[in-house]
């Protein structure tokens, strides 16, 4: 990783965290509603995943604001979507959990746990069929590794030798349920072992995540078929804004936060890349401004027109018999 990239990753992580805190604030003010899943604590993973898997398609779940931004969607259009505005990524019709942008090969919104995995498999089939080397990355939580769709996807991806990177964000919890209380082990990559190569990585370490995923990406490109990467991480907030998260002890959270991914990346920048405090502050200020601009944009944006309700049920202007 060169210095420029390291700085960008740091910048995006800071931006991501500030974005999430801002979203939280505006949720409490009533500007945002619905289920709002914050990514705070998991930024290393979200950002490095997008930077490492820089080509190809990405399918993810409902905790996707930071990923979307790191993927290249503008913070403005993401924030506007959270606000339900006409200028949002999905023109206010999808909300926080549904940030789709095919122009960035980003399908970052599925609110059905595991529901996007079969879709990612199908897309990987298409890519292989088209002779593309890029492949597809599917991101999901530890909780998603218990549903049928997950297993069917491992199995088919392996049988078809598809270029599909499974990235499991293991934060130890599915809402309030400890993963080990509903599945027999903590390491979810074990479930993939019969089907494909597996890797593990410290999800609180942006550099390690980046390196691991670059290696995995290369394996896809080389035609070795699907690969499974498990990253151990930690969410600081409740599952969504409606969850106080009180099932975790203070001690647990303390240990967790002592590994803060932003602090660690800052240290890397300073120690390894000799970035000085002033430059860091510049990055942080830029992030702060980007979030402020996003909020201003969202606030100033119009609500969708009521006619929007009936648009996009069927495809308009497509090769259709329906107009």
């Amino acid at each position: 990783m060169n210095k420029l990239l390291a700085e960008e990753i740091y910048y995006l992580m800071v931006l991501g965290r500030k974005f999430e805190f801002s979203a939280k604030e505006h949720y409490m003010k009533g500007d945002i509603s619905g289920f709002l899943h914050l990514d705070i604590g998991q930024e290393a993973l979200s950002v490095s995943a997008m930077k490492a898997f820089d080509r190809g398609d990405v399918f993810s779940g409902y905790r996707v604001h930071v990923m979307a931004i790191a993927r290249g969607l503008s913070p403005k259009s993401v924030m506007a979507e959270l606000f339900g505005k006409a200028t949002g990524v999905s023109r206010g019709k999808g909300g926080s959990m549904h940030l789709y942008d095919p122009s960035h090969f980003f399908y970052g919104g599925d609110a059905i746990v595991g529901g996007h995995l079969p879709n990612a498999v199908g897309c990987a089939y298409a890519r292989k069929y088209q002779g593309s080397e890029e492949g597809v990355m599917a991101i999901f939580g530890d909780g998603a590794t218990n549903c049928g769709a997950f297993f069917e996807s491992l199995n088919i991806a392996s049988a078809q030798n598809l270029p599909l990177l499974f990235l499991c964000e293991n934060n130890g919890y599915a809402i309030g349920t400890k993963i080990t209380s509903v599945t027999p082990f903590l390491k979810q990559s074990k479930k993939a072992e019969p089907y494909m190569r597996t890797m593990e990585v410290d999800g609180m370490d942006a550099v390690a995540v980046y390196d691991a995923l670059k290696e995995a990406q290369k394996s896809l490109h080389d035609g070795h078929g699907p690969i499974f990467v498990e990253a151990f991480t930690c969410r600081y907030e409740g599952h969504s804004m409606s969850d106080p998260g009180s099932y975790r002890t203070q001690l647990e959270m303390q240990i967790c936060k002592s590994q803060d991914p932003i602090d660690r990346m800052k240290k890397v920048l300073i120690e390894q890349y000799q970035v000085d405090t002033a430059s860091l502050e510049t990055l942080e200020d830029r992030a702060e401004r980007a979030v402020e601009e996003a909020v201003d944009f969202a606030l100033a944006s119009p609500e969708p027109d009521e006619a929007e309700l009936y648009q996009n049920i069927f495809c308009q202007g497509c090769a259709n018999v329906i107009s």
């Binding site: 609110a111 909780g143 509903v182 309700l309």
Partner: protein, 325 residues
């Protein structure tokens, strides 16, 4: 007492008397349930009777069926009907059919509960209503809970019944207040006359009952007519008797449902009415329902997609005028 407390109490009281009753679902144990319906039960009954499951809806229902075969009386909770779609094979191909296909040798004393409907900006994958899909499956008893007293009594009866029961709750009703009459039993399959009236029969269920009741004073004032409001309560079987009595009196039928209009549950009520009572009807029946669009996230659009008290007033008044009321 709150609606969710009434549900909680129904579960608690039945669990206390029958150790075969167990609860399973995501976050229902240690966490107390997404909508706090099972709050406190884990502490009281422990993990053998409250099984926290992984995110695997097919298994939640499928396991409950197996538990019932094995002699338990499971209560399965799904977080919303939107996830119940993952369990449709178990619900429809197994839960509804095993009793019949085995010629009665297998009985499935079990309950599957979940909320549905539009809450606030949860977007389409968390907001839909699918009661029409389930209420038309032979073999399932389907109850729709709009009322606190009904919540308590109906769930209790459902748990003690030997048939498989689907209990549909509504996302927005969990904190609804109401009184429970603990002394008077009810028949969960009987429709509830929420308000009597001579001129228009308004049939509804779940949250729409509240919206209808909010709309009624204005409708009555504007049309100068009396509304009879019926909460269906049971969607399968339907209490046609209560409906017929009301329609013979009023001659006019309105159905209000939150689900999309096309093929919604209301169409069954209307079809039944015109087949059975065509010549008693004095006006064309009216369906007020959600728009035929996936529920959007934006609040304004979301509200535009479903009936609201204002829209109910407007639609019924216009219809009344068109039909010479």
């Amino acid at each position: 007492m709150l609606y969710r407390e009434a549900l909680n109490r129904a579960i608690d009281e039945t669990m206390a008397i029958d150790s075969n009753i167990v609860v399973l679902g995501e976050d229902i144990g240690r966490y107390g349930g997404s909508y706090r319906v099972t709050e406190g039960l884990f502490a009281k009954y422990g993990e053998k009777r409250l099984m926290d499951t992984p995110i695997a809806e097919m298994s939640i229902v499928g396991n409950a069926i197996g538990m019932a075969i094995g002699g338990l009386r499971p209560i399965a909770e799904l977080m919303t009907v939107n996830f119940a779609l993952l369990a449709f094979d178990q619900i429809i191909n197994h839960m509804a059919k095993l009793h019949y296909m085995s010629a009665g040798k297998i009985t499935l004393p079990m309950v599957v509960r979940f909320p549905q409907g539009v809450s606030k900006q949860l977007a389409s994958q968390h907001s839909e209503s699918y009661e029409q899909m389930l209420a038309s499956v032979p073999g399932l008893i389907v109850l729709a809970v709009s009322d606190v007293n009904y919540a308590y009594h109906a769930l209790k009866k459902a748990i003690l019944m030997d048939d498989p029961v689907i209990v549909i709750e509504h996302e927005l009703l969990y904190n609804k207040k109401g009184n429970v009459d603990f002394d008077r039993d009810i028949d969960p399959l009987k429709a509830r006359i929420v308000k009597e009236g001579d001129d228009i029969t308004i049939v509804s269920y779940l949250k729409m009952v509240d919206d209808v009741m909010e709309a009624v004073p204005q409708i009555e004032e504007k049309l100068g007519k009396q509304c009879e409001v019926i909460d269906l309560c049971a969607l399968n079987p339907i209490d046609y008797q209560t409906l017929a009595l009301s329609l013979k009196k009023t001659g006019r039928l309105v159905v209000v449902e939150e689900d999309h209009k096309k093929g919604g549950f209301g169409s069954q009520v209307i079809s039944w009415a015109v087949e059975e009572l065509f010549y008693t009807l004095d006006a064309s029946p009216l369906r007020i329902a959600g728009e035929d669009v996936p529920i959007p996230y934006n609040r304004k659009l979301e509200l535009a997609s479903i009936p609201t008290p204002d829209k109910i007033v407007a639609r019924i008044v216009t219809w009344g005028e068109q039909n010479g009321l």
